[in-house]
């Protein structure tokens, strides 16, 4: 079992004729994902490596029955691309685009919540979602993942790879791996994904990788206390990050003394999560947790 996406998920790629879009659409398809179409306004009728291109998301949905969209549209137009997808009935929108103005995302998030409460937006500024050996819908290197029973949720792309790689090397597979992204207004937060993993009968343990900035990890800790009884292994990046400096991700900033790694670790420990301070030992910690140690 898995959450959010599987081998039956039908994906369209918005921005498919761009450099990133065409490369990753092809890579996802090669992994085995059902990439049924793409969208670039004005380029309908063309194809990208055999994937048909449509002028609008609605047209793509009507012709392919797609239920998921992967977005590579450039930042100035990406928020609109998300709205177009949800308006066309797409149920899972995964937005890879980095650099979308925050003021563009605030109303989009409220729009989805208000009019499409069952629709899920992952990202923006994220690596995407993978259910190993079924569907890769994102930019992650597929070969480091392995099918199994550990769910991973992370704000950081390369740290997701690091964690999955350590698990796979130890023979521990993953149910689904979700990168929720490094922006200050993410479509999906830790608590949402923790619920999916808790409710998924085949996910046995959850790896949660957070970073400095905001309070999403503290809210996740609250949720774990209330709802999650599966083992949660958590890591937070940025113990050494200085305050007031944006550490790459727009959302990774300690502002007004808030959002430090220490606070987040403390909240997660109080909620009963196992915390790992050294990312190199996350695989070992998961192995122990699965053995019930």
């Amino acid at each position: 079992m898995s959450v959010l996406v599987n081998k039956d998920t039908k994906v369209i790629v918005q921005g498919i004729t761009g450099r990133e879009g065409s490369f990753h659409a092809t890579q996802c398809k090669a992994y085995g994902t059902q990439v049924v179409g793409g969208v670039t306004p004005g380029k309908g009728g063309q194809d990208v490596e055999g994937i048909p291109v449509f002028d609008s998301v609605q047209e793509a949905v009507d012709n392919t029955g797609a239920d998921c969209s992967l977005i590579f549209v450039p930042p100035p137009f990406a928020a609109d691309a998300v709205v177009e997808a949800v308006d066309a009935g797409i149920k899972t929108v995964i937005c890879i685009t980095e650099g979308i103005p925050v003021n563009d995302m605030i109303p989009v998030k409220q729009y989805i919540k208000t009019y499409y409460p069952d629709t899920v937006l992952i990202g923006p500024n994220c690596p995407g979602v993978i259910t190993p050996e079924e569907a890769k819908i994102g930019i992650m290197p597929g070969h480091i993942f392995k099918k199994g029973n550990v769910g991973i949720v992370s704000r950081s792309g390369t740290l997701t790879y690091e964690a999955a790689f350590q698990l796979s090397n130890r023979g521990i597979g993953q149910s689904t791996v979700i990168g929720i992204g490094g922006d200050p207004v993410p479509g999906t937060v830790f608590a949402d994904v923790l619920k999916w993993f808790q409710d998924d009968p085949e996910t046995e343990a959850i790896v949660m990788i957070g970073e400095i900035g905001g309070t999403a990890e503290e809210e996740a800790a609250e949720f774990i206390k209330e709802y999650v009884n599966k083992p949660v292994i958590a890591y937070i990046a940025g113990v050494t990050a200085p305050p007031g400096k944006r550490m790459g991700h727009a959302g990774a900033i300690i502002a007004g003394g808030k959002g430090t790694a220490e606070e987040k670790y403390k909240a997660l420990e109080a909620a009963g999560a196992t915390t790992v301070k050294n990312i190199s030992f996350i695989g070992e910690a998961v192995e122990k947790a699965l053995r019930g140690e």
Partner: protein, 388 residues
């Protein structure tokens, strides 16, 4: 992006906010000139740096005549101002702001920013102006009045009036104060700010409302639609290496340690710094070369980290995803030929085409120290930096 007070006030003026008359000056002569233009005394001479706490640090002076303007301008210009927000190294004062003085009766605080847990903007206000809001929040959280702004409706006039009422403004000023809040919201939305702050907002002895200090941070992601704001950037307020890194499109932040790191991905870059610390060392920088770095960018990244004189060792930590390890190895080899590194380099590489990448590095003849895991790499780099 941060801007100076005088630039923030310039933006505020455009939106009709009540800002006192004032002009920036880059030299003592200019300071005298603009003080004459103001035509009345006293005037306030304010150091312009990208940090708060200037008053307590001696960066704000009241001048009662032209001689004093000249004296304070000479004192402040070229000085490095250290405030509780700048860190011990301080920030250089390359410009000052000369402004008409205000007769303060009472000070207030107001700011608009994103509440990340709600994914909505909030407006915060307090009758304890002049103080840092964090201080107020810690000591007396009830003193902060907050209204959540609905993304579809915007800040409503009634919400703005409610804040003014709760702050205790005289009834005849409620609409005037509310209009300040609404205009501030206008600035936030139309200029794509990530934070706007008036601290203090002043009720003058004459019964007027005045924006005495102004702060605006702009959303970097939205700068493309504000070319006029982009021009306000002041590179003197950032470290030289950070400015250079920006030109190369690299994400670099200088730190105080002696182990430089070069990493792909912001999260992994932070984790690498943390791992160095756990191994007993101190990172010299945060550096994310991004997911699509090529040989040239790696060479530029090398130049930047090598020009930090504190650096005693380099730790390259790459998780090759879409960016293949062989490409990275090629970049490292090219870069080391171009910029001869004078300190030991530890390389940890993992992911796509890692075997080929490792082979290329081994055969390159470069003096690179391989590591299999992040932890091993960090430990080696720390030992080397300590001269072991």
């Amino acid at each position: 992006m941060k801007v100076h007070e005088h630039q923030a006030k310039e933006v505020f003026r455009k939106y009709g906010l009540p800002v006192p008359e004032g002009y920036p000056a880059f030299t003592v002569e200019e300071a005298v000139e603009v003080a004459q233009k103001l035509g009345k005394f006293p005037v306030v001479v304010k150091a312009q740096i990208h940090a708060g706490g200037r008053g307590k640090a001696g960066g704000v002076k009241l001048a009662k005549d032209l001689d004093e303007v000249q004296k304070y301008a000479a004192e402040l210009l070229g000085k490095t101002l250290v405030t509780f927000q700048t860190g011990p190294e301080g920030l250089p004062v390359s410009r000052i702001y000369i402004e008409e003085a205000t007769n303060i009766d009472k000070e207030y605080y107001v700011a608009i920013t994103l509440d990340r847990s709600k994914s909505k903007l909030i407006i915060m206000a307090s009758a304890e102006g002049g103080m840092e809001i964090e201080e107020v929040a810690a000591k007396n959280p009830d003193a902060i009045i907050t209204e959540v702004i609905d993304p579809f409706m915007g800040l409503r006039p009634y919400q703005a009036r409610n804040i003014a009422l709760k702050l205790g403004f005289p009834k005849n000023l409620i609409n005037k104060v509310a209009s300040v809040f609404l205009k501030l919201y206008d600035v936030y939305m139309k200029e794509d700010a990530s934070m706007v702050e008036i601290n203090p907002l002043v009720l003058t002895k004459e019964g007027n409302i005045v924006v005495l200090d102004a702060k605006v941070d702009f959303d970097d992601n939205a700068l493309y639609r504000h070319p006029d704001i982009m021009e306000m950037e002041d590179p003197t307020q950032e470290s030289e290496l950070e400015v250079k890194a920006k030109q190369y499109n690299l994400n670099y932040i200088k730190l105080d340690g002696n182990i430089a790191c070069m990493v792909n991905g912001a999260g992994l870059a932070m984790a690498t710094m943390d791992t160095i610390k756990l191994a007993g060392g101190e990172p010299a920088n945060f550096l994310d070369v991004g997911g699509s770095a090529n040989a040239e960018q790696i060479a530029n990244a090398f130049k930047i980290i090598l020009s930090d004189p504190n650096v005693k060792a380099i730790f390259i930590n790459i998780f090759g995803g879409i960016l293949r390890c062989d490409r990275l190895a090629e970049g490292i080899i090219k870069a080391s030929q171009e910029v001869k590194p004078h300190v030991p380099i530890v390389v940890r590489m993992e992911g796509t085409n890692v075997e080929l990448g490792k082979k290329m590095l081994a055969e390159s003849g470069l003096d690179l120290i391989p590591a299999d895991t992040m932890w091993e790499g960090a430990k080696k780099a720390v030992e080397l930096a300590q001269g072991k």
